[in-house]
Every structure is written in structure tokens, then in C-alpha cells.
């Protein structure tokens, strides 16, 4: 391997820069016995001062392990090999823990993934930020305080005097992320490792965080940005390295890589981005032998298209706050969902989306207004009457895992759902509800099992998962089990509350495609709630934009996204990361 300044053996469309802030050659990291089970193998890349390299890949591809190895935090059980590993020209290969400790924060900063758990909930953020100053500098208290305020201002958290005393619980998601970045840059490290900085943030906040990183870059900081989302990194990365199964499969300048991807994995990741992809187009490669365009047969066969299946009329929900004032989480929402169509409800966190979902599912009682399902009263009915209608209304949750009883296996979860659906289908129990003789078939255990297998098959999960607990499944698999459970009663309506926001872009694409397929096959009516405009645009026929408990704009998707009327809608759209 070349030891000089020129990356000779480096096969990349964009040759590495001459001066490297970070220089990595043949980095291999694994856990357990040295040489065994490499999680990351043969990575080589450089980052110049003021440059941003994005490491992009699905979860499990080894991105975070790479970042942690570069700051000596891979863990006790990890082993690491490389022909060269240098930060700012200094060899950091084989540093002891003590030597690393002197460098962390000063030479390399790390911004961790989850801002909520990465900040100590009991310590004021000023202290968190001052930690590195106390450890690495000889500044006295007053100077440190001044420095902390200065850093906070730089990350866009002005009003430093009150901020430093706040704890992470008192900050919003975006503010927490800023505080984390502030802690990482307090010592002005020339190299910053940033792990998924915008996951779980609203688009507008996400755009602000990216701008902040951009400004750091302009000051000459070298940034290694880690993300699963190509659209996000495309905005600020100069170069992108795509990782898959622990290897860099493709590396190149951002514009080139996005415009002309050479590797299959890269193409798949680009295809998975839902932004600006018209409704009905697949985000994942179609299964083999299937025609590329899915015929829209089922939709035509649906009775009475356009009939309203789910309706809210002036829905209001108030919450009393600790200080005694009343806050309207949902403030007079009315919309209609037509059969066989998708309505997208979009808004930022705190706009009342989840409260709306809970009202729709009658998990909480509205203070005013009404929810009607299939033209019948739903929120106004008693729970006993409501249970007859519940099979028509399936629900998919953001956090699929917590929606499963932790004691039950996947098989037991689905069996419960199937049995429940069968019981509700009994005509003498159903009363005047819609009779569902189709659900009464298979009253035996073997019939239940057949139905469970059928459900699994519909969401493309292998039957081997039946004996597993949801905890041991991946995020995508969990969400599929959640969808299978919702389908058990063969509902006409699915309410999806942030169905994909906890998933990687590629897994998200699979789940969105699955929902689309199910809708076509069964004529399902979908209500999709999300903060992600890209997702909403891709799946919806009609869109309703929520702001502070109200719907500020509603209309067909093309109209809302093509010619937004409300200024808030415009600002949201402007913040959507696109592959430009």
C-alpha cells in the first residue's frame, strides 16, 4: 500500500485530495477473535480540510462502526487492522485508551446519532459542552462560560445565558441536535464525525442542521457524515462513499454518483427515495417475472368508488397543561377519506398528527366533533358498539415493537389477531354491523394457522419467523408483522401513523411498496400520517397539511405540492431534501 501523500492504489472517480485531514487505508474492523468476523473490511478514503465525505449505507452496513473506530471507541471486543490511519497527519493506529482520550474532542469530534439519549438528562447542556473545555484546556470558569455561549451561538442556539442551564428534556429535537454539535465543536476539532444527524427531525429542522454543518465546512472543518439517506447527504457532501455489507462499493463526487451511479447498491438506494416519485411507481425493483407496471385491476372492481369510508367532522381535542392553561392539540379538523384512495396527513412534530390518529382509532375521546366510519358513528358510539366496526379499521404504528405484547411470538401475535377477527365475524355478535361471512371460514386451529401463514405471505415474510419474538426482528420485519396483524380482520381502512419513520430509506421503500400493493389488491383506503413530505407525496391521492392542530391546506397531491397556497406549505416544501 502506498505510504506517500498520493493515494496511488486508490480506484476512485475522484482522486483523494493531496492534504488529508483524515486518511484511511485498508481499514478492517471486527468483533471477537482478531481476523474473525470482520464487520468492516478494506475501507480506504481521505477527507481534506473543509471537505465533507458522506458514508452512506443501510443499517448494519458498518457505517457507525467505522465512525467509532476513527475515534477509538469501537469497544473492548473489537479488533482493528489498517495499513494507514492518520488524523491530521498523525498516525493514530494502535493508540492506547489514554492517548485517544487526549485526542478526542481536540483532534476529532463525534456527534452521536440519537440526541435524546446522547445527552445526560440530568445535566444542564452548558455543563455538557464545557466538559471538553475543562478536560483539554486551561481556561478558567469565566472563560469557559464565555466559550460555551460563543459555541452555542455558532450552532444557532442564541440566548446562551438561559440555554446553558437547560437540560436535554427542555429542548426540542432540533435544539438537542444543535447542543450535541456544540459539544463536539467546542474545541474546534479539525475533523468532525457526524452520525445520522438529521434522522427523526422535521424537514425544516433538518434543513437548518444541514446548513449548520455547511457553515462548519466553510470554516475548514473536515466532516465525515454518516447517513442512510442519500437525499439528505446530497445537500452538503462533496463526495459520497456507498457502503454495503462492510465494504465501500462505490465512491465518487456527489453530483457524479447521484447522476450516474455505477453500482447496483447505489442505484437501489437512489431509487428508494420517495421524493418526487409519482404515486404508484415502485421504489424497489419489482419481483422477478412480474411485469414492471402493476395492473390496476382491483381498483376498477371496487364497488362505489369515491364513497366516503372515514370522515371527521370538526374534531377537537384539548389538553390541560401543568400550568393550568388549555392547549388545543387538535382544533377543529374535518376531512373525508374516499374508498380506495390515500389521504396523506402531513405536519411537523407537535402539529397534532398523533392526537388525530388516536381520535380516529377512538383511543381517546374528542372534546368536540365526531369520527364516522363507513357512515356510522364511531367516536360517538359506546365501546361495545364500536367493537363491531373495529375490524374495518386497521392500524399501523410508528413503533411497531412496542405495539406487540413482549411475551408473545410473532406467531402468537398473528394467531390472536386471526382469532379475534373470527370472533367478531359471528353474525349474532356482529348485530347490525356489516356481516363478514368471509372471516368465519377456518374455525379450527389448522384453519387459524393457514390464515396466519397467508397473512405472513401477504407481507412477504418467511414462516420461519413465526417462532421468533418481535424483539429479535429487524425494523422492517417488525413493521411487516404489524401490517400483517392489521390485515387479519380484512379491514377496509388502514390508519398508518408514521409507518416508516423509524426505518432506513431502502427498508422504507419496501414497506411503502408493500402498502401500495395491498391497496391495489384489496381496494384499501389508507390514511397515512407522516412528517416526511417525500413519503406523503409519494403515497397520497389527497394531502392535508396540519399546523398547530388545524388543517391549513388540503387538496389533490399534485395541487398541494405543485402550487401550494399557504405559506407554511411552501416553507415545508422548500425544506425537502432532493437529489438535485
Amino acid at each position: 500500500m502506498s505510504q506517500g501523500t498520493h493515494p496511488v492504489g486508490h480506484r476512485s472517480a475522484a482522486p483523494g485530495p493531496l492534504v488529508s485531514m483524515l486518511r484511511v487505508r485498508d481499514l478492517t474492523v471486527g468483533f471477537g477473535q482478531p481476523g474473525e468476523n470482520p464487520v468492516v473490511s478494506g475501507l480506504s478514503f481521505d477527507i481534506a480540510p473543509g471537505e465533507c465525505l458522506a458514508l452512506v449505507g443501510e443499517s448494519g452496513s458498518g457505517k457507525s462502526v467505522t465512525a467509532r473506530s476513527l475515534i477509538g471507541l469501537a469497544g473492548d471486543t473489537a479488533w482493528l487492522e489498517a495499513t494507514e490511519l492518520a488524523i491530521n497527519g498523525n498516525d493514530v493506529l494502535g493508540l492506547t485508551e489514554g492517548e485517544w482520550r487526549r485526542r478526542r474532542g481536540r483532534d476529532v469530534g463525534l456527534v452521536l446519532q440519537d440526541a435524546l439519549v446522547s445527552l445526560d438528562p440530568l445535566r444542564p447542556i452548558g455543563r455538557e459542552i464545557a466538559d471538553s473545555l475543562r478536560l483539554h484546556t486551561t481556561l478558567d470558569r469565566a472563560a469557559r462560560r464565555e466559550r460555551v455561549q460563543d459555541v452555542l451561538k455558532r450552532v444557532g442556539l442564541p440566548d446562551g445565558r438561559t440555554r446553558v442551564r437547560q437540560r436535554s428534556g427542555e429542548l426540542s429535537g432540533g435544539q438537542r441536535q444543535r447542543a450535541l454539535i456544540a459539544a463536539a465543536i467546542a474545541l474546534d476539532p479539525p475533523l468532525l464525525l457526524v452520525d445520522e444527524p438529521t434522522t427523526a427531525l422535521d424537514v425544516t429542522v433538518q434543513a437548518q442542521i444541514l446548513e449548520l454543518l455547511e457553515s462548519l465546512k466553510a470554516r475548514g472543518t473536515a466532516i465525515l457524515l454518516i447517513s442512510h439517506d442519500l437525499a439528505v447527504v446530497g445537500r452538503i457532501a462533496d463526495r459520497i462513499a456507498v457502503m454495503s455489507a462492510g465494504r465501500i462499493v462505490e465512491q465518487g463526487r456527489t453530483a457524479r454518483l447521484l447522476a450516474a451511479p455505477r453500482q447496483e447498491q447505489t442505484r437501489r438506494m437512489i431509487a428508494a427515495i420517495p421524493v418526487d416519485k409519482p404515486r404508484g411507481t415502485r421504489l424497489t425493483a419489482p419481483p422477478a417475472e412480474a411485469s414492471p407496471v402493476v395492473p390496476v385491476v382491483a381498483l376498477a372492481a371496487m364497488p362505489a368508488p369515491g364513497e366516503v369510508v372515514l370522515e371527521t367532522i370538526g374534531l377537537v381535542k384539548n389538553f390541560r397543561q401543568p400550568d393550568g392553561t388549555v392547549m388545543s392539540a387538535v382544533d377543529g379538523i374535518s376531512f373525508q377519506l374516499a374508498r380506495g384512495t390515500t389521504l396523506g396527513l402531513v405536519g411537523e412534530s407537535g402539529s397534532g398528527k398523533t392526537t388525530t390518529a388516536r381520535l380516529l382509532l377512538a383511543l381517546s375521546r374528542p372534546d368536540a366533533g365526531e369520527v364516522r366510519v363507513l357512515g356510522r358513528p364511531f367516536s360517538a358510539a359506546s365501546e361495545r358498539e364500536r367493537r363491531r366496526l373495529r375490524p374495518e379499521l386497521g392500524a399501523i404504528y410508528q413503533d411497531a415493537l412496542s405495539s406487540f405484547d413482549p411475551r408473545l411470538t410473532v406467531g402468537a401475535v398473528l394467531r390472536d389477531a386471526v382469532r379475534g377477527a373470527r370472533r367478531q365475524a359471528r353474525p349474532w355478535f356482529a348485530g347490525d354491523g356489516p356481516e363478514r361471512p368471509d372471516l368465519q371460514v377456518g374455525r379450527t386451529a389448522s384453519g387459524d394457522r393457514a390464515r396466519v401463514l397467508e397473512l405472513l405471505d401477504q407481507v412477504s415474510l418467511p414462516s420461519a419467523l413465526l417462532s421468533r419474538r418481535p424483539l429479535s426482528l429487524s425494523g422492517g420485519q417488525r413493521q411487516r408483522v404489524g401490517i400483517a396483524r392489521a390485515l387479519a380482520s380484512d379491514p377496509q381502512i388502514l390508519v398508518c401513523d408514521e409507518p416508516v419513520s423509524a426505518l432506513d430509506v431502502t427498508v422504507q421503500a419496501q414497506v411503502l411498496d408493500l402498502l401500495d400493493e395491498l391497496q391495489r389488491e384489496r381496494g384499501l383506503s389508507l390514511l397515512v400520517i407522516s412528517h416526511d413530505l417525500g413519503v406523503i407525496q409519494h403515497v397520497s391521492d389527497r394531502v392535508a397539511v396540519m399546523l398547530a392542530g388545524r388543517i391549513v391546506e388540503t387538496g389533490p397531491t399534485e395541487q398541494v405540492f405543485g402550487a401550494p397556497v399557504h405559506p407554511y406549505t411552501r416553507s415545508l416544501l422548500a425544506a425537502v431534501p432532493r437529489l438535485a
Binding site: 443501510e58 448494519g60 405484547d405 390472536d416 420485519q477 427498508v507
Partner: protein, 286 residues
Amino acid sequence: MSELEIQAGLGRLERARTPRRQIGVAEALALAFALFLVVAAFVPSFVAPGDPLAIDPLSAFQAPNPGHWFGTDESGRDIFTRVSHGTGGSLAIGTLATALGLGLGILLGTMAGMLGRVVDFTVNRFLEVMFAFPGLLLALLVILVFGPGAQTATVAVGLATAPGYARIIRAQLISVRSSAFVEAATVLGRGPWQILWRHILPNTLAPLFVLGTLGIGQAIVWASALSYLGLGAAPPAAEWGAMLSAGRTYITSAWWMAFFPGLFIVLTAITATSLGRAIERRLRHA
């Protein structure tokens, strides 16, 4: 599914497996001692063939020796035999008292957690009053009313531990009741009784198994304390607390009379506690 997701799943399984397979030295010792206790409780003559009440004045006050491992008492009774034969009684008191305490706790806790605000308020105030008395004092009160004896001691300890269990059960119940999977079951159209039976009770009561194991050790200590005070099993009976009390008189001349019953009380409590913790750890990783 992509192979990456499967890998991630496997990784999680492996992580869960490592702590489950290891049995520490302490756990192994606790397991061995528990085995001994169980054998001694059910077939005491297998461990110590002699008669625990047989008097042999000629060999009174013997220090531990090859013939009498734990020595003999003032009437020449073999202490090892007595301690072994007392195991059944002590374990029975511990188990029954814990069962009683847990049973009452489940009843009160479930009432408070499920039957609405008025019941919750009433039960809570009642528990607070109970908490105002130290547990042992509560037990003394019961004995004062019903007279001393082994059965009364069991009931007394059971009653004294019930409020603590009730509190824990209520808190657990409330957190399970408001969890996402219970809401999901509601959305699926399950009735309240089905949800209670299928989801809420199992998830509330499973952790209690651990709590109960931990409680047995505590109950044995308490019951022994009552016997020591002369409020539990009466002296000639081979009960650990009573033996401890009898040995107190001769503590300066015949230390073994008090030491070995005391040792068994302590070891039993430690065994129950460490087994409880071990089970807890396994459940958490399962």
C-alpha cells in the same frame, strides 16, 4: 428480507445468549444449597437420620465434633439434626407467608389499578396507613390479637408484607395498562376482559415470580425473628428462630447453639435472594 437485516437479528440473538448460558459460582452454590434445603424439607431423615427431639443428657453441650457436626444443646440433642428437621417448617412459613402476602397484594393492587379512581384512592390511603407501621410491628399486632404460634406468625408475616406487594403490582398494572400493545389490542377490537386476561395480567404478574422468590428469604428472616421473640413456634420444636433464642442463654459457653441456626437463616435468605436475582436476570435477557 435483506441479509443485512437477518444479520442484525442474529447479532441481537447472540448478545442475548451470552449472559444466559453462564452460571456464576455464587449461583451454583446457591443452587446446591437450595437443593439441600429442599431435600431436608421433604425427607429430613435422609439428611439427618436421628430424632430431633431425642434427649441425651450425657452428651449435652458438646462442641462440634465428628459425631455431632454442629454440636449438641443443653439436653444433648444433635443440633445438625434439629436444624435439618427445622428446614421444612422454616421453608413452609417462608413460602406460605410470601404466598399470602403476594395473594393479598395482587388482590389489592389489581383492585386499585383496575377498578377506577374511587377504589384506587381508597386502597392507596389504606396502604399508606399500613406503611406507616414498620412491618414487624404490624406482625406483632396480629400476634397480639390471635396469640403466638407458628400459624399466626405465618399469617402475620404475610399480612405485613402485603402492602409492599400491592404497591408494586398497582404500579406495574398501570404502566402495562397504558402501554402501546394494550392500545393495539383495543384497536383490534378486543374486549376489556380479553385484554385483561391475555395481556395485562400476564405482563403484570410475570415479574412477581422473581419478587416472590426474593420475598421468601425475607419472610423466613421475619418468621425466625418472631420465633426468637417467643411469638412464633414454641421452644421444643426444631424451628430455627426458636433454636436461636434458646441458644442465646448459652452464647458465652456454647456458641454453636446459636451460631448454626443463625447460619442457616442467613444462608437460606441469601440463597433465596441470589436465586431470585438470577431468575430475574434470565427473564430480562430472554
